[in-house]
């Protein structure tokens, strides 16, 4: 029997909403503060701002996790999957002891490390050498161990000649290399990887996953949160599925991923929110009313569309105030969580001119449509996320994977080849021409 490495006992965590909100922008933070100063936010308002909270609200409190039971023997690589907001990151934070559970307790054997913390505690005024020692100590390495591995770390980071230079004079690449070198030489008994929080840098993600499998081979416990389901399937021997703060399934990655995907397969090609629905996704200025997918020339929303038909994603929203500028965007992902494309109604990204683009919208109900040409997708399932905000780079309303649809090949694009179409997220019909040149 293997030693238990992690033991989560009936762990629940609640946050007070409003206090723990993450404000992306200073103006938003100030507005929220000002609002909070003049009127105490009521439950309905909070629930409105956080559309996915459903039954997890309790007054001002929000249950991020509920009754989590989990036991992981040492040496296991476990993937955690679930929708955004299911509580994956909170669970990892509790395991790494940053956040204290509200109820229950957590046991961990040995040192916990996570690649989230790359560069945590680096101080710009300190030299490379001093930062290695400080950062190593913060990550939990004893000084003697840092001293022993110091040369290794420095040569891994390739900064030998800058050891006595303050880090503020480093190029950002050098600083990141040094930070990663320290983290990579930390040998935690439990490694935690939250890829969700390190989105953007592909190379870094690859490095993290590489480190994970390497540590796994050495018999250490690894916990992975990733939207990259293929990586979870390859890396892990076991996966757990989280849903609305609860751990709902535990088993082989294949089975868990299937279950996760079927959970994501919501509905009938349309999501509708009533006007008085407190849970309707909304910002101060805009409330989402519906998102629908139309295809095959049908007037009725469809969740299954033929490959040779134009697909229309229609987003209906209410503008709640006068003179609001609105930018609508959609993001489409495939089943592995890979982004297929991102599109918006700005003129340079639009085949025609959207008459309402850049205009001040008076109060009212609007519908924005995005037409995706026929013969573009592959035959698989796609997930649509809707993003709305005053500008392209300023999103105030975001609804991840709000609905999904399946594209079927009716044979229109498969007359000559019947084999499986491996991999690609799209299968556009393009122009081909061969000429004899000599």
């Amino acid at each position: 029997m293997k030693l238990e490495s992690i033991h989560v006992e009936k762990v629940s965590k609640k946050f007070r909403l409003g206090a723990a909100n993450d404000y992306g922008r200073l103006t938003e933070a100030i507005m929220a503060r000002a609002k909070g100063f003049f009127c105490k936010p009521a439950q309905a308002v909070l629930a409105k701002e956080n559309p996915t909270l459903g039954g997890r609200m309790e007054g001002e409190w929000f249950w991020a996790l509920r009754d989590i039971e989990l036991s992981i023997p040492s040496g296991e690589i476990v993937g955690i999957v679930g929708r955004n907001g299911a509580g994956k990151s909170t669970l990892l934070k509790i395991l790494s002891r940053i956040v204290m559970p509200t109820l229950g307790r957590v046991g961990v054997r040995g040192r916990v490390g996570s690649l989230l913390e790359v560069g945590t505690g680096f101080h710009p005024e300190l030299t490379g050498r001093e930062n290695v020692f400080l950062n190593g100590a913060i990550l939990g390495m004893p000084r003697s161990e840092i001293r022993k591995r110091f040369d290794e770390i420095v040569s891994f980071a390739e900064i030998e000649s800058f050891l006595e230079t303050p880090v503020k004079r480093y190029s950002s690449g050098m600083a990141v290399r040094l930070a990663f070198a320290v983290a990579a030489h930390l040998e935690p008994d439990v490694l935690i990887i939250d890829e969700v929080l390190s989105v953007g840098d592909q190379a870094f993600q690859r490095k993290c996953l590489g480190k994970a499998s390497q540590l796994g081979e050495q018999g250490r416990t690894v916990l992975v949160v990733s939207h990259n389901l293929a990586a979870v399937a390859n890396l892990c021997k076991r996966a757990v599925l989280m849903q609305d703060g609860r751990l709902v399934a535990d088993g082989s990655p294949g089975r868990i991923i299937d279950q996760y995907l079927s959970e994501m397969r919501t509905g009938d090609g349309q999501r509708v929110w009533k006007d008085d629905d407190a849970l309707a996704p909304s910002s101060d200025q805009i409330r989402l009313r519906s998102v629908s997918v139309f295809g095959n020339g049908s007037e009725v929303p469809l969740s299954e569309v033929d490959i040779d038909q134009e697909i229309v994603v229609a987003i209906e929203y209410a503008v709640l105030l006068d003179d609001v500028s609105v930018s609508v965007q959609i993001q489409v992902r495939d089943e592995t969580g890979t982004y297929v494309f991102w599109s918006t109604n700005a003129p340079s990204m639009n085949m025609e001119l959207d008459p309402w683009y850049g205009k001040q919208h008076p109060r009212g109900v609007y519908q924005s449509e995005c037409r995706i040409p026929s013969n573009f997708f592959n035959e698989t399932r796609y997930f649509v996320s809707v993003l709305i905000g005053p500008e392209i780079g300023w999103i105030t309303l975001r609804q991840e994977s709000v609905l999904s649809f399946v594209v079927h090949d009716t044979g229109a694009m498969r007359r000559e080849y019947m084999g499986p179409w491996i991999g690609p997220a799209v299968r556009p019909k393009l122009n081909w021409r061969t000429e004899k040149k000599g």
Binding site: E4, S96, I98, P101, R105, V106, E125, E130, I138, G140
Partner: protein, 276 residues
């Protein structure tokens, strides 16, 4: 396997945790020490210059006012210097420790270590400065012809430790409070200003006593800072001792603030990452 979860215990567990992670405490201390005098021309000399400058300002002030700060018969300079040394220990540890958690929230919200280490490292820096700067007393006494009372001089060490323990209790309160309510950081400068006037920093106990009637002197001396400065000065220069009643109350206050600070810090620590 080590377990953790919400706890109602009194907070003594933090002490053993701090002891286990003392290497990290040392690293934080070293960091604070190193970055403080980076890009500074005279570097560590500031440790000596700050209390000296404070001393000269106050002596100059009293000179302009045409009076003396000391009533005890000892020269002004060593009396003011002992006060300034102790006060800078209090004020710089309060100032640095109060902001320590908030300034390091990008670390606090990403990785676990006993959070108490951050304010403690600030306190250690202040103690380090205090220890170095205390050597100034020897030349200052020599120049002003003041004799150091060697028979009680060693007692100054436990007295200084008392003051440090008092600071430790206060900064557990202040740093964790500031993480929850930033108001603390804004109010602190005024609290410190007030604190300096209600402690015998630039004057000695002999000077304040006639102003307060005998009935109220103990209340003044019950302020642990006032009591420690009085005792510190007494042990080195032979000035008046605080009253027994005052010292007793000050000791009780110190213990009370220390224990409640420990309990409060543990309580606040449990929601720190959510609230900071």
């Amino acid at each position: 396997m080590r377990y953790y979860g919400p706890t109602d215990s009194f907070g003594f567990g933090q002490l053993s945790e701090i002891w286990r992670t003392r290497e990290l405490l040392y690293s934080f201390f070293l960091r604070d020490l190193l970055i403080r005098y980076r890009q500074v021309v005279v570097g560590v000399l500031w440790v000596l210059l700050q209390p000296l400058m404070g001393m000269f300002i106050f002596i100059g002030l009293f000179f302009v006012l045409g009076t003396q700060s000391a009533r005890s018969g000892v020269a002004d300079a060593p009396v003011v210097l002992t006060g300034v040394l102790c006060w800078q220990l209090v004020s710089s540890s309060f100032r640095d420790a109060t902001g320590s958690l908030v300034n390091y929230r990008h670390v606090v919200t990403k990785i676990y270590f006993p959070r108490m280490l951050l304010p403690l490292a600030s306190l250690m820096c202040a103690v380090f400065d205090f220890t170095i700067a205390s050597t100034l007393l020897i030349p200052v006494c020599a120049i002003t012809g003041t004799t150091i009372v060697w028979s009680t001089a060693l007692l100054s060490i436990p007295i200084a430790i008392w003051l440090v323990l008092f600071c430790a209790g206060c900064i557990s309160w202040l740093s964790a409070l500031n993480a929850h309510y930033r108001d603390v950081g804004y109010a602190l400068p005024f609290i410190l200003q007030l604190g300096m006037f209600v402690s015998p920093v630039i004057y000695d106990l002999e000077r304040i006593r006639p102003l307060l009637t005998d009935r109220w002197v103990w209340l003044y001396e019950a302020n642990p800072v006032a009591c420690c400065i009085g005792l510190f000065r007494w042990s080195l220069l032979g000035t008046a001792q605080p009253s027994i009643l005052g010292m007793t109350v000050a000791a009780i206050l110190t213990i009370g603030i220390g224990l409640s600070g420990l309990a409060w810090f543990q309580h606040a620590d449990q929601q720190l990452a959510d609230r900071i």
